[in-house]
């Protein structure tokens, strides 16, 4: 009888693929394993249907449901969504850390949310599930892949390569008279810039007033040379791209900020320099204002999220269809070498609530949705805002059809050189301190040097407040994982 019971138990374990011993869930692909894992989990808890809840970024309210329906058909797990604006979600997640409601099983937000949520214990580490489900992360560029982890533990999966891109107006670049004049003035052909200085030169050149004869064409409206985010809650993101290209880390090993050195001042001055070629309203603009402004032909160049390219092609009222050239982000010359660093200013990801009644079921959805098979479909989805990030996506016909070959090539380059936004606890406080100083510098109320000094002082205070030792340990993990490549100063 005992023998029979043991044999039965073993057979059941093998049949369901559940693993007291941590063996891999059966399935040829990550998505197949996710489905099998989910089914086995339902079997284990003795139900054939389950309902879960996802806190969803409202931007995805239109595109996400079809994948949730598909997941339900495949597994019997229904995931209903509650949508919020992405700016509201962090406080809701942190409130859940205190209230521990268990109302949500999955949180959808952006990469920079991971450290605070992990420290608050509101999200569950996923390593044990991943060990059995074997998700496919290997082909994701290393620095993007790292953003799923905090202090060496896996906390999130993502499906959105939101690394910055520079877009230029191809039609203006191709004006023969302008090309000749630009070459005469700057000694090179106009095109994608290698350095921030070269971008500023382009911005200063491709700039004009309404009615002006601009190298053979009459400008129907004012033409601004550049757009890059300058509003509070945005500018700091782009600053990190400028700074990272100087080959310097944000902190040393003791969490002393390095941004008040020449590299930080230079990054700030670059941004101030470029600002003079931007519309004055840029200081109040987020994406909903920046995108249409570029698409309506008001500016020559924009450094923004990669979705600008698709938007500029198809947006209502666009006048730049077929006229946009995507570029790898500009960089800086460090020790005689060109260093380019895009930044990941957003990047939609998914986390499992520690207070979920069925965290394992939630994890299987994460693995399924971010798998190459399903994730690529989402990236190709015309209604979605998931951007490409896996190298293989550059060969996917559906994704190429959506984004265009030239953009795909460029965005993959940008993905390879993407850096995270301070992946530490309290990052939003670090960001804001930087942001406010930058604003003061943009308005010439303080110098770039003073802006960086102020930020460094504020950062020291934040670090002390959170706990220097703790932050230093987390920072060590970040630096050692290569998230900032070979940047110096540690």
């Amino acid at each position: 009888m005992w023998k029979g019971a043991i044999v039965g138990a073993v057979a059941l374990l093998l049949a369901t693929g559940t693993t007291a011993w941590g063996q891999t869930v059966p399935g040829a692909t990550p998505s197949e394993r996710a489905v099998n894992g989910a089914k086995a989990y339902l079997k284990k808890i003795g139900v054939d249907r389950l309902e879960q809840t996802m806190m969803l970024v409202s931007l995805f309210a239109k595109a996400q449901p079809k994948y949730l329906e598909e997941w339900e058909k495949l597994t019997g797990i229904k995931i209903k969504t509650i949508e919020y604006g992405y700016t509201d979600i962090p406080s809701k997640i942190m409130a859940d850390a205190v209230a521990k409601t268990g109302q949500y099983d999955i949180y959808n937000h952006q990469m920079y949310m991971v450290p605070d949520a992990a420290e608050a214990g509101v999200i569950a580490p996923l390593d044990d599930y991943a060990a059995r489900g074997k998700p496919s992360f290997d082909d994701i560029p290393k620095t993007l892949r790292n953003e799923q982890y905090y202090r060496g533990k896996l906390y999130a999966t993502f499906n959105d390569g939101d690394q910055t891109v520079l877009a230029l107006r191809k039609d203006l670049l191709e004006l023969p008279q302008a090309r000749a004049a630009f070459k005469a003035k700057f000694g090179r052909e106009p095109g994608c810039p290698d350095t921030w200085k070269q971008w500023e030169e382009l911005a200063s050149f491709y700039n004009g007033k309404k009615g002006q004869n601009f190298y053979g064409i009459t400008l129907e409206k004012d033409l601004y040379g550049a757009q890059e985010y300058r509003a509070r809650d945005f500018a700091y993101r782009w600053w990190q791209g400028h700074y990272a290209s100087k080959g310097k880390l944000l902190f040393n090993r003791n969490m002393k900020p390095l941004i008040d050195g020449p590299e930080g001042v230079e990054a700030t001055k670059e941004m101030i320099g470029l600002t003079q070629y931007m519309p004055k309203d840029i200081f109040g603009w987020g994406t909903p204002q920046n995108y249409p402004f570029f698409a309506q032909g008001n500016s020559f160049s924009i450094s923004t999220f990669p979705s600008i390219v698709g938007y500029a092609e198809k947006a209502p009222g666009t006048v730049v269809t077929g006229k946009v050239l995507s570029c790898v982000v500009p960089g800086s010359i460090v020790k005689g070498k060109l260093v380019r660093r895009s930044v990941q200013p957003a990047g939609t990801q998914y986390m499992v609530s520690r207070y979920s009644k069925h965290p394992e079921a939630a994890y299987w959805f994460l693995q399924w949705f971010s798998s190459p098979e399903v994730g690529d479909r989402a990236v190709a989805d015309p209604a979605g805002f998931w951007d490409p990030y896996r190298p293989a996506q550059a060969k996917n016909p559906a994704i190429i059809a959506k984004f265009g070959e030239q953009f795909m090539k460029v965005t993959m380059e940008n993905a390879k050189i993407a850096v995270p936004m301070i992946p530490l606890q309290g990052n939003r406080e670090y960001f804001d301190a930087l942001d406010v100083s930058l604003q003061e510098a943009f308005f010439a109320r303080i110098t770039a040097e003073e802006a960086m000094k102020r930020t460094a002082r504020a950062w020291e205070k934040i670090t002390d407040d959170i706990g220097r030792k703790k932050q230093a340990e987390a920072w060590k993990t970040v630096v050692e994982s290569g998230s900032y490549f070979d940047a110096e100063g540690y």
């Binding site: 850390a97 109040g284 603009w285 309290g426 406010v436």
Partner: protein, 330 residues
């Protein structure tokens, strides 16, 4: 153990009499009007006290911790004593937000009082279509502040109706960056607040002006006082308590402003429009520094209490002065 009767110590008859007299005293005390008036209020007062005292005590306690939301529940937070208060009092951002908020409140409330008073003077007497004007003037007050913030963000965009109107008026292109330049953004927030809350001061003043006793005004007119003199020496002094009420009510509200600057500028550009409420919200819910926000709010409570008590004293003084004037000369 034998229990002695209560009256054991007193001679027979005396104890009974004293109990009776005590009962009578309590009865008589309860029958007093002032006592009878507040006894029914005790349950409500206790409920209110509980509703206020518990969160207040919790706020004080939390302000003495070093609680960030990243620590999870507040029981996990270390004790920090007065460190949050020290941090707040040495935090430039906090101190500047106090200055900014008081400056904002002073400018907005002054304008609201003047405008409200002016409009009230124009409309407090009966005239044709008065009801219509009163209704129109009160509409902004009925609108939810969030909607006001959004409406103003639409009005104030660079190419929006306000700049267009100003361009038409001046005959040259006006491009004020209402939401992205320091001073302009501050003015924009004040403008939105004035638009929304002038109706309240207007309503208070209309009521006040309508309720003024006609005798002193008529007496002044009979004695040959001009319109200005009647206003300056009769109406205005009589309206002082009403003005004080409008001032106190609006100041307390203006010091708490959150929604309009949040929707218009999110506190920016830089910190240009970061009011105290935005500062507290940002620290508690964006930076997760709940203890720090609690300490800052306790400091503000102290500051606001000083302002409110000063205002109440002023009101009381005004009332006392009025009462004194009403006492007939002997």
């Amino acid at each position: 153990m034998t229990r002695l009767p209560d009256t054991a110590a007193a001679p027979p008859g005396v104890a009974a009499a004293s109990t009776r007299s005590r009962r009578l005293t309590v009865g008589a005390w309860l029958e007093q009007e002032r006592v009878f008036r507040w006894i029914p209020l005790i349950p409500v007062q206790l409920l209110l006290l509980a509703l206020l005292a518990v969160p207040f005590a919790l706020t004080i306690y939390i302000s003495l911790l070093r609680w960030r939301l990243t620590l999870g529940f507040w029981t996990a937070a270390p004790f920090g004593g007065l460190s949050n208060f020290v941090d707040a009092l040495t935090d430039e951002v906090f101190l500047f937000s106090i200055v900014r908020t008081f400056t904002f409140a002073a400018s907005a409330v002054t304008a609201e009082l003047l405008l409200g008073f002016g409009l009230a003077l124009l409309t407090y007497k009966s005239f044709r279509g008065r009801r219509f004007y009163l209704t129109v003037f009160l509409i902004p007050m009925m609108i939810i502040p969030v909607v006001v913030g959004y409406d103003f963000s639409m009005l104030l965009i660079d190419t929006g109706p306000l700049n267009h109107a100003l361009s038409r008026l001046t005959g040259q292109e006006v491009r004020i960056r209402w939401m992205s330049e320091y001073r302009a953004a501050q003015v924009a927030v004040v403008l939105a607040d004035i638009w929304q809350w002038t109706p309240l001061t207007f309503l208070i003043f209309v009521s006040g002006l309508s309720a003024l006793p006609p005798e002193p005004i008529r007496a002044a007119q009979v004695m040959g006082a001009s319109r200005w003199q009647v206003f300056r020496y009769v109406q205005l002094p009589l309206l002082k308590p009403v003005i004080m009420i409008a001032l106190v009510v609006r100041s307390m509200e203006a010091l708490k402003i959150f929604d309009i600057p949040m929707l218009l500028t999110q506190g920016g550009p830089g910190n240009a429009t970061e009011t105290l409420s935005i500062f507290l919200w940002r620290n508690a819910w964006v930076f997760n520094k709940v203890s720090y926000a609690a300490a800052a709010s306790v400091l503000l409570l102290v500051l606001f209490s000083v302002v409110i008590f000063a205002s109440i004293r002023l009101l009381q003084r005004e009332r006392a002065a009025l009462e004194a004037e009403r006492v007939p000369a002997r």
